[in-house]
């Protein structure tokens, strides 16, 4: 059984429906990349999993989110609280949204294992320092007593990762965890996250807009476009033979080694806003292969040899 399973999850905020029948699953210990442009629904999907939609006035109107044996979308808030931080942890884009600026960073990690695992102060401290060492934080016992403002962005993000790992979760949802960091630091943080996920057999849902990061880190990929799943598949298959034109275009936007001048091709137009979703396939106004049928009939997500794609033309490999 999958660790996390989203089956046809539809999310509404007021009269709008920003997520439409999102379906994918994550196995235990698997690293899955969720990609798409801004406005494709990546962060909302994370919020749906974390049970945070009420914060922005949203709710799951149909479909189900199952985590191991728990049906998350029917879980009372009190039970959700026991789960969050304990079995499912979140790493956000900006570490300062997770860190309290006036408390020592070590105490903030300690608190997680004290609260969720019932450890005493000293045990929690030892555990935190050990975790910080594993995350290659130099002089971990000194940093344990530092305040957030004394640390660099990369160090702060490592502290947040330590907090996420502190209660031995089964799933970590990481929403653009490296976007705010410099490239050299980004590469290190991605490497550390993957290493830790593998070593501790934690599943990782890695939300990113960077296809390079996906290729480097993930086992499988979910491509979102305008609130729907465009394609899912193993990372090898997605990059070698993308079935959805959107996936193919996204990969084509990255300047790779040896690309001839003029070889970089953007995707014309922009992701439509949630109030202006086009009929049929939502990608059709930007798709170079669109046919009449694509403008009228929304393609269903169909299982393919490896994964699934929602495109009328995906039957035959491009």
């Amino acid at each position: 059984m999958a660790l996390l399973d989203l089956s046809d999850v539809t999310v509404s905020i007021g009269a709008l429906t920003p997520l439409d029948r999102i379906a994918f699953s994550i196995e235990a210990g698997e690293i899955i990349g969720v990609v798409g442009e801004s406005g494709s629904g990546k962060s909302l999907t994370a919020m749906a999993v974390m049970g945070l939609l009420p914060l922005i006035g949203g709710r799951i109107t149909s479909g189900a989110v199952r985590f191991a044996d728990v049906e998350l979308n029917r879980l009372p808030e009190r039970d959700y609280r026991a789960l969050r931080g304990r079995r499912i942890a979140l790493i956000s884009q900006n570490p300062m949204t997770s860190l309290d600026p006036i408390r020592r960073v070590g105490e903030q990690i300690d608190q997680v294992s004290m609260m969720h695992l019932g450890l005493g102060t000293e045990q929690a401290r030892l555990r935190s320092v050990d975790m910080m060492r594993q995350l290659r934080i130099p002089e971990a016992d000194v940093v344990h007593g530092n305040y957030p403002h004394q640390l660099s962005g990369g160090m702060k993000q490592r502290i947040v990762i330590a907090m996420a790992l502190a209660a031995d979760p089964e799933l970590i949802v990481a929403d653009e965890p490296t976007t705010a960091l410099d490239v050299t630091i980004q590469a290190q943080i991605i490497q550390i996250m993957v290493e830790m996920a593998r070593r501790k057999n934690v599943a990782l849902m890695l939300i990113t807009h960077d296809m390079g990061v996906v290729a480097q880190a993930c086992d499988r990929v979910v491509v979102l476009y305008a609130g729907r799943v465009a394609e899912t598949g193993s990372v090898e298959r997605i990059f070698a033979a993308p079935r959805h034109p959107y996936t193919k275009s996204l990969i084509g936007c990255i300047p790779v080694e040896g690309l001839p001048p003029g070889g970089l091709k953007g995707i014309d137009g922009v992701v439509p806003g949630v109030a202006n979703y086009p009929t049929g396939c939502r990608f059709h106004p930007r798709c170079s292969l669109a046919q009449d049928r694509c403008k009228i009939e929304a393609p269903l997500l169909r299982a393919l040899d490896e994964g699934a794609a929602a495109c009328h033309l995906a039957g035959d490999p491009p």
Binding site: E37, G212, A215, C253, P255, G266, I267
Partner: protein, 321 residues
């Protein structure tokens, strides 16, 4: 390479700040001893991490801030000594596109007003009946619908705003465009659109670009000459985009870029240590604390930027081959 449009010689800029409200003054050299030629009609890329001085260098190139030392020559004229009126004259020929299109466009100006502002500032305002046509031409050029003219910045997406920023920079038909991370806040799909647009203007108008970025992959694709900066100084200049970097820092930057190909996964060698404080730079090579090749010499003596045997210039005691 072609003749330089811009020449920087020993260019430097020092900022002074105070530690706390009553603390002692301390200074940092945001840009230190930069000597660089920007060839006409080519794209010169400057890469480095936050705080390496690349944005300060961009501003110095246009004299948006004053240099503390050294000079900038634009098409044979030393712009550091120009009087305000003469400076304004020459500004027509050099323009800037900023990183953040959200803050570089006045929220209360319509897009048409915004595009006409450079003409107003330069005293070149077209007669009233020609203004709409002028705005339409600019919008056409950057691929925006003419209806955008009456919109306000908050009604546009990030990519559209950046197109307006480029149209405004091109309004006076400059020769030099300084682009400070013009795509850093955009999606990759939109970044690629903007780069396509810039490629077209370079080819059609023979524009010269100074392109600031933190993305070595993008710079290697787009630029003819690549300048790598670390803590205010140039550490390497590559005169071909496909040249293999020889400086350990440039290598580390390249090693941090992931290819969109799962077959090319790599183990990132973590760089030891953190970037030193720009207020207290070490005496030797500023990169020595993080460099796997560092020797006693590197910690004692700062390497000078010298001609590299493989073309370009490099400041390193132990260049890699």
């Amino acid at each position: 390479m072609s003749a330089p449009l811009v020449s920087m010689r020993g260019l430097g800029r020092t900022f002074v700040s105070r530690k706390g409200l009553f603390g002692a003054h301390r200074s940092m050299r945001a840009v230190d001893d930069v000597t660089l030629d920007i060839p006409a009609g080519k794209v010169t890329g400057v890469v480095g991490e936050s705080g390496c001085g690349k944005s300060t260098l961009a501003r110095l190139a246009l004299r948006l801030i004053e240099a503390s030392s050294g000079s900038v020559t634009f098409d044979g004229t030393d712009i550091g000594s120009l009087e305000p009126a003469a400076m304004r004259q020459i500004r027509r020929r050099m323009q800037m596109v900023f990183q953040d299109p959200y803050s570089s466009l006045d929220p209360r100006y319509s897009i048409a007003d915004c595009l006409l502002e450079p003409f107003a500032i330069q005293g070149l305002m077209p007669p009233a009946r020609q203004r709409a046509a002028q705005v339409d031409d600019l919008l056409d050029m950057v691929g925006l619908a003419r209806s955008v003219a009456s919109s306000f910045p908050h009604q546009l997406s990030g990519g559209q705003k950046q197109r307006v920023g480029i149209a405004r920079a091109l309004a006076l038909k400059p020769q030099l465009l300084v682009l400070d991370e013009p795509t850093a806040s955009l999606d990759v799909s939109i970044q690629a659109q903007i780069i396509e647009l810039l490629e077209r203007f370079r080819d059609d108008f023979g524009l010269t670009y100074l392109f600031i970025s933190h993305d070595l992959g993008l710079v290697r694709y787009f630029c003819d000459q690549i300048v790598v900066m670390y803590l205010g100084r140039i550490v390497e200049v590559m005169d071909r985009p496909d040249a293999r970097p020889r400086h350990p820092y440039s290598r580390a930057l390249l090693n941090s870029t992931f290819a969109p190909d799962p077959a090319k996964r790599r183990v990132v060698t973590p760089m030891a240590g953190e970037i030193p404080s720009p207020f207290a730079l070490p005496p030797g090579c500023a990169f020595a604390a993080r460099c796997p090749q560092a020797s006693a010499l590197c910690k004692a003596e700062r390497p000078t930027l010298a001609e590299s045997t493989a073309g370009g210039r490099i400041a390193c005691h132990h260049p890699q081959d």
